[in-house]
Amino acid sequence: MTNLTDLTVAEIRDGFRAGDFSAREVAEGFNANVAAAKALNAFIVETPEKALEAADAADKAKAAGETLGALAGVPIGMKDLFCTQGVQTTAASHMLEGFVPTYESTVSAKLWAAGAGMLGKLNLDQFAMGSSNETSYFGNVISPWRRKDGGNAALAPGGSSGGSSSAISARLCPAATGTDTGGSIRQPAAFTGISGIKPTYGRCSRWGVVAFASSLDQAGPMARTVRDNAILLETMSGFDPKDSTSLDLAVPQWEAGLSSDLKGKKVGIPKEYRPDGLNEEISAMWDRGIAWLKDAGAEVVDVSLPHTKYALATYYIIAPAEASSNLARYDGVRYGQRDLPDGAGLQDMYAATRAAGFGPEVKRRIMIGTYVLSAGFYDAYYTQAQKVRALISRDFELAFEKCDLLLTPTAPSAAFALGEKQADPLAMYLNDVFTVPASLAGLPAMAVPGGLDSAGLPIGLQIIGKALDEQTVLNASLALEERAGFNARPDKWW
């Protein structure tokens, strides 16, 4: 019999509907995998009962001949940045340890309404700040992948959605939610050989998602196939009157629109994404990607995104600036962590609470953000960064006059070992160099695995599309997926 936990979302959905297996069997299979994978530390909270509850409801609905939701029978992982009613939501911080929301985020509510079940709350970088999942208060997430060098170095699953990427590649869940502020879906997907899409800013409601940087934060799915991403994204997207930045547009039928035929499409290759000293294997993978898209019928053109070199600096001004303000609400007054030393006044309580509640990376970004917004520095940093952000968006607009999509690497390297880059925050920030520009411009972008490097680790490709054109992004990704034929999986050691 097929191992149910090796199935994709589409296969589970269809097999369940066809009566090949019950939803309960699927949920039990994944629950067992989750329970057996403590070594990966992918989950902060496991909720096997929630997964079973949804599965039983799906089985019952099917038996009664009722209309089934789009994700009936499919259990998923939920990044612990999404508030879930009655289930602890921490953003991987000590600050929110023990916080149990009385409300459900819009995106997770849509998924449950479509019949999905929750396997648990996935670990992440604290407040989604990090690229390696080493900033979680609840410990590092370990990638299931290992280098084929005989060593046992624990590798980073990427970040911030590292619990999601690790869990999916280890078959603890067929799909999961992620959030992407500067690459937090795409970089971990690339590190673990899975795919993930950050849709156009405003497609998915931010309501009920713990905020990092409001103008950049965007939820999206992560899964093993492009089709699975299309399925989940359809459910997660849609206008939400509770989010002022939500797009009031109908949700396209992306799955039905999937086609890997790229005839008539022009693919732009931005030269600025090939800096001197780019990792040779990444560069070679990019060339393979170009050949695959040509093979799918696309025409390849060279384009220029001249302000790319300022993107990282711009991002690390805007994102911390917004974060410094967004995280001000964690003050110990109303919920979450409170440290109240004897005889302390209000200011002392703030200081003690925030000193204990936030990890070093979060503190670093709050300080950077506070600095760039302060009187005397605001114009030099924040205002300037906003201007550069507009130029970066303009770069994309001009490029898209010449092409329909862009192909780039997702990350500048394959997964690195835990601890390897922790000493140098700037080296860590460089991981986002290829993902940040699309975030600043609010564009849809997707990571797909391309193959393994010489160390046996996955490396990926990124497709960036025009605003609202997720379909082309998905289709080009599908063309890559078909040609890459990526079916490597980590050997089970956990």
Partner: protein, 501 residues
Amino acid sequence: MTESTYRVQGATGEWEVVIGLEVHAQVTSQAKLFSGAATAFGAEPNTQVSLVDAAMPGMLPVPNRECIRQAVRTGMAIDAKINKWSRFDRKNYFYADLPQGYQISQLYHPLVGEGEIEISLDDKNPDAATKVIGIERIHVEQDAGKLMHDQHPTRSYVDLNRSGVALMEIVSKPDMRSPAEAGAYLAKLRTILRYVGSCDGNMDQGSMRADVNVSVRRPGEEFGTRTETKNVNSVRFVMAVVEHEASRQVDVLEAGGKVVQETRLYDPDKNETRSMRSKEDAHDYRYFPDPDLLPLELDDAFLEACRQSLPELPDAKRRRYEGDLGLSAYNAATLTADADTARWFEALLSEAARIQKKSEGEVAKASANWLLSELYGALNRLGKSLEDSPVGPEEGAELLALVADGTISGTIAKQVFEIMLETGERAPKIVEEKGLKQTSDTGAIEAVVADVLVRNGDKVEQYRAGKEALFGFFVGQTMKAMQGKANPQVVNELVKKALAA
């Protein structure tokens, strides 16, 4: 514009006072600025709080259209520039009554730009000086919650009912030069807000409060350093703050000191201001555009709908009362000084005109006089306001109609009104049941007049000898004999005729 001659007399000469006000006015709305929570005053603590107001993780603000509409209407009422593109900014600071850790306000691009308000130093005097006070801007922002320090010996409690309530901050230019001008400005602003219906203007409930900026200078010189006295909550207190703060600053300057730019607090019990914090320890608010909110863009249809919904404003109304209705300047000013009075008066007027089949102009004077003397007198006596008056505009108009068509005399009308107040009965019924209808039957009156003259032959002699003041006596005797029910005009004529005979 008339230049104020108000001066503070210092030991070294005269000083001029310069005043600007920042008024925070709570927008009349069922819901808060960015959440659906209710805004009822006086509710139990923390019962008017949504997840957004408590700044729970992942909560987002959504602008309340009604609050924006009210602020735009207010801007239109002071002839201000309405900015079709405006934006919300975050003002960041930590305090326990500020759940988000920032207040959503509008620093860089306010909703309403420059406008103006005309004030009069004595509204009821048509010859009093008037002055135009410039308005710098109106922006909308969230209110904070409230700390309660008196609930526990060592702890403070937080009430978030007000957290997120919509405020308009109405910023004047530094155009006022005396306590009286500051008081007149605030009173006029409150009148306009109440007319527009964008704020209830209840200063004692905190719906409206003023930050008072005061500086002094030698007449004609550059502006001096100002202080800002926060949260002053009555017209009287604003005037007191200006007076006190100006003389304090003059004392400082004349003693060779410098005025420190600082925030001060007013203590009404001691009638003094005291320093709260100086500029040195002022917050760095780190304002930046709120990334949770899109810029606010208003289209022409919305603006037009706002404009159409504006009522007649106090200045226009007062001019109309004087011009079209022929009321005295005093009565026009009194009737228009607040929106409720004007509404009551206009209801009375329209009803009186309808019953009497006359134009409003023809019934205006009698209506105004009755409202301001009879009704106000009665309400004062009963300790009631127009709002809870036992007699409504319709009942009042019926009473006026009975006087106008000669059914009853003014004297009887007063009696009827008293009965209306006591019993709640309507005037026509009272007149009917108590037989108070006055008579214009000349035959009957002539007979009574004749009888009065006969019984007072000596006074008739005196009158005819030139003591004309006795005329009133005969009229009075006649009215008395007829129990007040004779038409006074007819009595006058018949007495005159009989005496002349």
